[in-house]
Every structure is written in C-alpha cells, then in structure tokens.
C-alpha cells in the first residue's frame, strides 16, 4: 500500500508539472496579450495609447520576456512564495485574493449539489434496479435520460423565464434587490436560500440522472450473481440480502465521485453561474479568458488540476477502503 501511494504521489508531481506548463502555454496561445486587450478597449472609447505607454505596461507585467522566462517567473513564485501573481484586469489585485473572495459560495454550491445528487440518486437507482421494468423504474429511466439530454444552461433559462413570467421575479442573482446592500441578518440568509435552491437543483439534475443510471446498471449486474442466490437459498431476509452486498457494490460510484468535490469547490459551475449571475469563481474564470489575463487563468487551471489529481487519489483510496477486492489489487501490484 505504501509503495503504491508513493508511486502515485510521484506521478502526481510529474503530471502537475506537465499540466502547469501546458496550461501556461495554452493561455499564451491567443495572439496579443492583456496590454493589447487594454489598447483595444481604449481605442473603442476613442482614446489612443502611445507606444511608450504600451511598452511601459508590458515591461511592468513582464510581458516582454520570453515564454519560458514568464513561465518560470510565474511558477517559481507559486512554488516558493505561494504567490499566484496579479490579475491585470482587476487593478492588479492578487489572484489568490480574487479567488478566495468567491470560494465560499462555490464551495457551498458544490457541496450542497453533491449532497442533493447523492440523496436523490442512490435511493431511486436502487429502487429502479430492484423493481426492474416496474412503472417506477420506467419513470426513473425516463427522468435519467431527460436529465442527460437537456443542457443545464437551457434548464436554467427555462426556469428563469418561468419565474419571470409566472411569479414576476427573476430568480437569478444571489439576493433580491432589497437585500442587495443590506447587512447580514436572518432575512438576508433566507433570501439567499430562496435564490440558491434553484441552481442546486439545476446543476444536480444531470448528475442525478447519470448516477441513477450507473447505480441501476451496477446493481442489476450484482443482483443475479450466484452469491445472492446462495444467500437467498439460505433464508437470509430480503432487505438484508440486498443491503449487505449488492448495494455495497453498487455504491462504488459514490466513492469514485468523492474526489470531484475538490475541484468543484473552485470551478463553481461556470455556465450556470454565468446564466444565473451568481458570483462564484466561474464567471471570474470566463472574464479572465476573455481578457487574456494569463496569471489569473493559469492559476485557475493549475489549482483546478491540482485539486483534480488530489481528488482522484482520494477517490482511489476511498474506493480501496470500501472494496476489499480493489485494495487487494493495489497491495499485490
């Protein structure tokens, strides 16, 4: 187990190094840089920027150096000083501050979405497998396909339109206008809850649909195996028979998704957040991409991939803890 762990961690470091280089490279792909974005904005306002002004800006941000030099400057600051650089478009505020400001909501959104998904998907999936081809199963199957086929942002748009049309309020944003600038009180918290349940349901829907399908398929594979028949032949009560082994096996997807919580904390469900104007980290990322804010996007990608890699490791460990067969394979290999 220990040698497995150390090998994995070693590969993780190599992968992360490759990811950091690749992400920095991808961000530098678009022609021009942040200063040329500034220039274009100034020109669209009818102002002109002189060449000396531009080159002063470039050297201030280090944009006149070679790609590798820029990369080194960026990555060494992160590794040695924990400094992710500054976001150009945000008056050079530190990237870490910007991200931290928004992590809270992203965190809350992804944790509650995941809990929502698990709470709904597992019972339905198990029911749907045990009562295969019952009306309930057909309903769950239909719901599963529905959830996988409808794009999340479309669902968000439909809900927002319906809210506007039938209730006269826009469900977007985090607070109603009257609470926007108010200090925190019970009313504001309740108001935020009233705004947040909808994104949670929308984001959770496709995840729920997928997990129902997986749980059902896994459980169906297990339900007809000889060990289940053997246990039944020995007179084991049906509920115990079901919960003790087949359900345990079908819970594997639960453990292989635990690790996704980590990157989800930061990625903040970009598209939904943009459509419903929620101040999570997602829209920040999109604006960073549009402005060619290299340090902001680069740090984002780096943090996200680090969390993905760590999350995958956590998932694998959780799975090994849950399923002795997998544990055995790790120990053997």
């Amino acid at each position: 187990m220990l040698s497995f762990l150390s090998r994995r961690v070693m590969w993780m470091v190599v992968t992360l190094w490759a990811v950091s280089l690749a992400s920095f490279f991808i961000i530098s792909l678009p022609p021009g840089d942040y200063v040329s974005t500034l220039q274009a904005e100034a020109e669209s306002r009818g102002e002109m920027m002189s060449d000396s002004q531009l080159s002063a800006l470039r050297s201030r941000y280090g944009l006149d150096q070679s790609f590798l030099a820029q990369y080194w400057k960026w990555i060494s600051n992160i590794v040695f000083h924990g400094d992710f650089g500054q976001a150009f478009a945000w008056n050079s505020r530190p990237v870490s501050d910007l991200i931290w400001d928004r992590v809270g909501l992203s965190f809350f959104l992804s944790v509650s979405t995941l809990l929502f998904i698990w709470a709904i998907a597992f019972p339905i999936g198990i029911f749907s497998a045990v009562r295969q081809y019952s009306p309930g199963d057909y309903l769950a199957t239909f719901f599963g396909f529905f959830g996988m086929a409808v794009p999340e942002f479309l669902l968000a748009l439909v809900f927002m339109w319906a809210g506007m049309r039938f209730f006269g309020t826009s469900p977007g944003g985090l607070f109603s206008p009257e609470y926007q600038d108010a200090a925190w009180n019970l009313g504001k918290v309740l108001d935020m809850g009233a705004h947040l349940w909808l994104p949670i349901v929308i984001i959770g829907l496709s995840g729920t649909a997928g997990l129902i399908r997986i749980t059902r398929a896994n459980l169906l594979d297990e339900l007809y195996k000889p060990y289940v028949v053997a246990a039944r032949a020995r007179g084991m009560p049906e509920w115990k028979l079901l919960l003790k082994y087949p359900v345990r096996m079908s819970m594997s997807p639960f453990f292989s998704t635990v690790g996704w919580l980590l990157p989800g904390l930061i990625s903040g469900e970009t598209i939904i957040s943009i459509v419903m104007s929620l101040p999570t980290t997602g829209p920040l990322l999109l604006s960073g991409v549009e402005n060619q804010d290299m340090y902001l996007v680069g740090s984002f990608v780096l943090i996200l991939s680090t969390l993905t890699v760590i999350g995958t490791l956590i998932s694998d460990l959780a799975l090994a803890w849950w399923d002795p067969r997998i544990r055995h394979r790790y120990e053997g290999g």
Partner: protein
C-alpha cells in the same frame, strides 16, 4: 471471425421444433443477432427513427427550410409564432393559411409589438417559389418544401428573431453544423482512441504506461478552462469554416481519452480469450490477429460507445457557442441561436427563442436512446 465459430458444419436435416429458434440464431451472423436484439428495445428503435429524420433534415436543409438564413425583415423583429390553419370551405378545395401580423407601437416604450390578427390571412402551399439556393452547392433551385404561397408574404411558423429572421429556417439550416460537428468530432476521436487504446491494450508494458500517463494528464486538466482557453486561442479573423474545424478539433482532442480507455479495456480482456490464443498458436501474425480476430469481436462495443459520444459533442458545441466562444454569427448552429436567448428580458418578449434548445434536447435524447439500445445488444451471445 466469430461467424465461423457459430456456423453449423452441415445444415440440420430435420428441424426439431424445439431447437428451431436456436438453430436460426446459430446460423445468423453476429450483426443480424445484434439487430434482432436491438429491435426489441422499442425506445432505441424510436430514437433511431428520430436520428435518421434529423440527418435527412441535415442533408436537405436548403430545400426544407422555408427561407435562407440571410433573409430578414427588420420590420418584423420578435414576431410571435404562427399556427398553420386549414380552411375547408375555400372555393377550390382545401386551403392552408396563417393569420398575418398587426403591428402596434407600445405607447410608453415605443417598442413595436406584433400580434396575430385573426382577420388577416396569409395563404400557404407546398413547393412554393422562394429564395433561390444551390442544393449541395451544385443544383440551383428556388422551390422549398413548404411556405407562403406568394414570395413577398412573410411567414414565421416558429416566430422570428432579433433581426426578423425565420426561426424555423434557422433551426433547420443550423442542424447542419450542430449535427455534423458531433459526427466529425467523434470520427477523429475514434481514430485517435482506437490507435492509442489498441497499442496500449495489445502491447502493454512501456507503451501502455506512457499512453496511460498521457491520458491521465489530459484528464487532469479541467475541461471547461481548457475549452475556454483553447477556443479563445482560435484567431478571431478565421472564417466560419476554419472556426468550425478548429472547434471540432478541440472537442475531439479532449474526447478521445474516454474512448481509448474503452478500447484498451476490451483489448486487455480479449487478449486472454481462447480464440486469440488459438489464432496465435495457428501462427497468425500480430496484425492479422488484431484486425481479423480482435477488432471484429469488439466492434459492437466500440460502436455503442461511439453513439454515446456523439450527443456529448453536440452538447459541447452548444455550450461553447452559447458562451460566445464557439461558432459565431453569421454562422448558424443551435448553440449560436441559443446565444440570442441568454437574456431573461429578451426571453420575456420572445420565449420562442428557446425552441432551438428543444431541437438539441430531442436529438440528444434520441441519440442516447440509440446508444443505450446498442449497448444492450452489443453482445448478442450474452443471455
């Protein structure tokens, strides 16, 4: 191939009624068995019909769309959908018509508001003359399947958009990009996935380790930022065609890893099968073993995973274009059309702008059904 293993040495002289079914199954080729099993999956068959119809629309888009994508009427922006009505009392038989628009100005905002006037009738007919086009770029014609009987009349069966273009025509013409991007993207990622997955699974050892690391590396990069940055990297001055291919490439570069895993897994399990060992003992070369024995017996699984990959690509294109990072107007795709619907205020005036989303939903749903049916029937010998 598998067929040979299941063909009886000689046709049975007398068919035993109890064995008849099995004998018929034993004589049929694997593909026929897959088809038989697939046919039992009603939803999958229905899905297949819908998908086929959708691709018929793609092929004949210019003819089926009532107008071209560039036809617009700036006096009729955000016009509501019209319902086709049939008048049986018309003097020369049956007459189809829609109610025309009456335009008023909102006294406060001075916005134009179009409402349907029950007294106005715009006659419709099959095969009217309309915008001229070139079918598949070669056959010039000006007839459309259905539309206003007089070319000067405007008919918006699904309403019109911000520029006064017919939404129905836009959806039909947009299907070409939206539905082909999935096919081409999947074809590219299929080639990559088959190549790398095959090498990885068949040879094992060092090539396997290397390819697995590359896949892990690609999967470790979070999808959305990668998408966003890659499509931001596509130069803005590229034409619609170039942009289209760039987007397809981005989608397939990200999409092949999942397929490679499937192929690798199949290769790993097939490598140990008796028939592969038998072929090896018979002195078959590696290439022959792979292409003559292993690929045919895994092709149904691979096709099933391919079918599941197409809708994912369609959703990917839609999301990218929706965010304004995929295709851009004047190119028409379902995602580009949905971009118009991004604003809740706009939706309040023109909720029909969400209809392209219905098109996305229906095709993706149908494709998922087909994929599900294929997966269930992929192994016809499994009971």
């Amino acid at each position: 191939m598998l067929t040979r293993n299941h063909k009886p040495a000689a046709p049975p002289a007398e068919a035993d009624p109890e064995l008849e079914f099995d004998a018929a199954a034993a004589r049929s080729s694997p593909w026929r068995l897959v088809w038989r099993k697939f046919r039992k999956h009603k939803l999958a068959v229905a899905g297949a019909v819908v998908v086929l119809l959708a691709y018929v629309v793609v092929v004949f888009a210019e003819f089926l769309a009532p107008t071209s994508t560039s036809t617009s009427d700036s006096t009729l922006t955000y016009a509501p959908p019209q319902m086709v009505k049939v008048d049986l009392s018309w003097s020369d038989g049956l007459q189809m018509y829609v109610n025309g628009y009456r335009t008023e100005r909102d006294p406060e905002t001075f916005e134009q508001i179009h409402t349907l006037d029950p007294d106005l009738r715009v006659p419709l007919r099959f095969l009217p003359r309309g915008d001229s086009y070139e079918m598949w770029g070669i056959i010039p014609w000006d007839r459309h399947l259905f539309g206003a009987a007089h070319a000067k009349d405007k008919v918006f069966l699904l309403g019109s958009d911000r520029q006064g273009r017919d939404l129905l025509s836009l959806i039909i013409q947009g299907s070409r990009v939206s539905l082909s991007i999935g096919l081409i993207g999947v074809a590219v990622s299929f080639l990559l996935g088959l190549l790398f997955g095959g090498v990885s699974g068949y040879y094992g050892g060092a090539p396997d380790t290397l390819i697995q690391r590359v896949i892990e590396f690609l999967m470790a990069i979070p999808t959305l930022p990668l998408w966003l940055s890659l499509s931001a990297a596509v130069p803005a001055d590229w034409g619609p065609m170039m942009r289209y291919f760039a987007i397809t490439t981005i989608l397939s570069v990200l999409g092949w890893t999942g397929l490679a895993r499937v192929v690798r897994g199949r290769f790993l399990s097939l490598r140990e099968e008796d028939f592969v060992t038998a072929a090896r003992l018979d002195g078959c070369g590696r290439i022959r073993i792979i292409f003559r024995h292993m690929v045919p017996s895994m092709s149904s699984h691979v096709i099933a995973s391919l079918t599941m990959a197409v809708p994912a690509m369609i959703l990917g294109e839609t999301a990218m274009s929706f965010l304004g990072l995929g295709l851009q107007s004047p190119a028409v795709s379902w995602g580009v059309l949905l971009q118009e619907a991004q604003n809740v205020r706009t939706l309040e005036t023109a909720p029909w702008l969400l209809i392209p989303g219905v098109a996305v939903f229906v095709t993706v749903l149908a494709m998922n059904f087909v994929g599900d049916g294929l997966r269930d029937s992929a192994d016809p010998y499994k009971q």
